[in-house]
Amino acid sequence: MSPSPASSPAYNTPNYLNAEKGVRSWLTTLDHKRIGVMYLGLTLFGFFLGGVFALLLRLELLTPGPTVMDAMAYNRMFTLHGVIMIFLFMIPAIPGIFGNFFIPLMIGAQDVAFPRINLLSVYLYLLGAVIAVVGMIQGGTDTGWTFYTPYSTTTVTTVAPVLLGAFILGMGSIVTGLNFIVTVHTMRAPGVTWMRLPLFVWAMYATSVIQVLATPVLGMTLLLVAFEKVFGFGIFDPARGGDPILFQHLFWFYSHPAVYIMILPAMGVVSEVVQSAARKNMFGYKAVAFSSLGIAFVGFFVWGHHLFTSGQSTFASGVFGVLSMFVGLFTAIKVFNWTATLYQGAIQVSAPFVYFMGFLYFLVFGGLTGIALSSVSLDVHWQDTYFVVAHFHFIMVGGTIMAFLAGLHYWWPKMFGKTYSERWALAAAVLVILGFNATFIPQFLLGNMGMPRRYYSYPEQFQALNVASTAGASLLAFGFFMILFYLVASLVRGKAAGPNPWFSRGYEWNTPSPPSLANFPETPVIDRGPHEYQDGPAAEVKHAH
């Protein structure tokens, strides 16, 4: 942690953590901050589970041929890994944790608009997670997280429970999004105009629009698969006139925008982090704010790029391919604005900043391979190879998880009122970024050489790169455990962080750390934009004292 003023040991003062005691007070809490903390625990557990399965996959791929499991077990593992990582971590994590915790703080509200529905979303998450995970392990689901028909409707393994689980998780996701939209519209404190909203709130707003509009489509589609599997309705069954490609259309109408449910909040987090780290206002506030909405909107027009090789018409593929490239346009707007914000800033090299730099590199690298993949002719070569796997892990893990970690380190002092060891944090950040590169760069190469995804075995000439990838994954896992270790240690013996250890001008830092139960003693009146570092970056640091 940067030199902390640590003047007020706020930890013994009343705050949301010690306002009420006991497990019951947590299970029935309506406080958005406690709900955010519950999401932190739950989604991190999901991340741990998904990570264990990822390591098992990498272990299996250490040698050609069977290493520790057979083909069927491998199929089940990657299904577990995919479903858990996407539905239990990537989609709910940043909205559930930081969205819940910080949106009300950032708009000067006491809570989200519908606190009871907010609590409901936690329980929907829990219920859906249990049904999905238990269903997958019991039934041995081997379809992959995409549940493609006709395989998912004809496999001998059980599929219905995980579909039901995903449906319930989707309801939780919808409820969260709906809550945030209404919160941003109706709960802003006096002075918080739309053009003064912190960029994280803008990103969460755009995310919520996708959650509300796209998730019902997934829910219904999964129910249709369940109906077909259980009752033989034939809706995706070619023998009864059904069109399996229709399933892919409906599935990706949600699941492609869902990629933006995962990355947009990440973009919001780094927008906050970069301003605080560079001690400068966002270079183009409006451009970044509206590009979030732009990504959310264009994200709905591109789903067909997942169907290039599955029988979709060449015409539709062309249209979807061109539309897909527009996403790159809006993402580039953000990237340029972030980098321009760094220019001539008084940059503090802290753990959040290192993660931000990692994020930027992974997003640009992953994004550019994405643009390459959106051209149909190239995709035909790369489709279903490790190139695609590496591409989306660069965006999802490299992008979203770097941003998640940046946010976690940036806001940790606010959420729990404690500082963590800056040295350990920097070391872990470097390890994680190195480990990540070592894991996935070999996979780009493997994919380009033609190694297909979703096989437990491979020809011998691919072994060297696979070993490198597995070694990288181990490094990555080690880095994550390090983070867990020093963050838990900071809870136990960390120093009091003080209300604003970063001297950030974000609205959320106007509260004590940890915030009190009511957030603000009285409704705040805001007379400036977020992150207005008026006096120039250097003066600002002194000024903050």
Binding site: A113, V182, V212, L224, G232
Partner: protein, 215 residues
């Protein structure tokens, strides 16, 4: 839950500045929820559009097996029930809770009528073997796309029927609250929100009826 209609301020949750904002938030939340409902049905409408496009003849012949008289009656029933709900909202805003109870009661009866007629239709299709997918065994009409019509028919009307049932339960609960005299000029949000839901159910049927019965 407070029961006193006059105690409007007590309905104000701690995190809202005033009642107006709170009601605005509730209404906006309901509209967003309705949009999720629309997108939920959109999946089935898409499936309908695709399969009707792929099997025009099969859908044509199969839709002749639909019971138009009952479907048309149900359309009239549902539209009229929408009227009674709209009137209930009107009287809830005026605080005439007795009228609200009566109108919502009539609405629920209309919903019941709808479901009973729907049940008769289902029964006929069941008896004739006009069922979805592999369950289809009606000898009178065979060919590509025919069973798909019934897959879509049962999915769409089934999901819609489920929404009618939910709507009836919600309206029943609101009617019970109206019976306790809860609503008035300061507070009629539950009537309005449940009414919105009921109208959406009606609105979807307005599309379902011509698409499934009259093509």
């Amino acid at each position: 839950m407070h029961t006193d209609a006059a105690a409007a301020p007590s309905r104000l949750a701690h995190h809202f500045p005033d009642m107006k904002t709170q009601e605005h938030a509730a209404r906006m939340g309901m509209w967003l929820f309705l949009s999720t409902e629309i997108l939920l049905f959109a999946v089935l409408f898409t499936a309908y559009a695709v399969y009707r496009f792929l099997f025009p003849q099969g859908f044509d012949e199969a839709s002749k097996l639909a019971h138009v008289a009952m479907g048309a009656t149900n359309t009239v029933v549902l539209i009229t029930s929408s009227l009674t709900v709209a009137l209930a909202i009107h009287y809830a805003r005026l605080g005439e809770n007795r009228k609200v109870v009566g109108l919502l009661g009539v609405t629920i009866l209309f919903g019941l009528t709808f479901m009973v007629l729907k049940g008769f239709e289902y029964h006929h299709h069941w008896v004739d073997g006009q069922l979805p997918g592999r369950l289809y065994h009606y000898a009178g009409l065979q060919g590509p796309g025919v069973s798909m019509y019934f897959t879509i028919y049962f999915l769409m009307t089934g999901l819609h029927g489920l929404h009618v049932l939910i709507g009836m339960s919600v309206l029943g609960w609101v009617a019970w609250r109206a019976g306790r005299g809860e609503f008035g000029p300061g507070y009629s949000t539950p009537v309005e929100l449940s009414g919105l839901y009921w109208h959406l159910v009606d609105l979807i049927w307005i599309f379902l009826f011509p698409l499934l019965y009259l093509m």
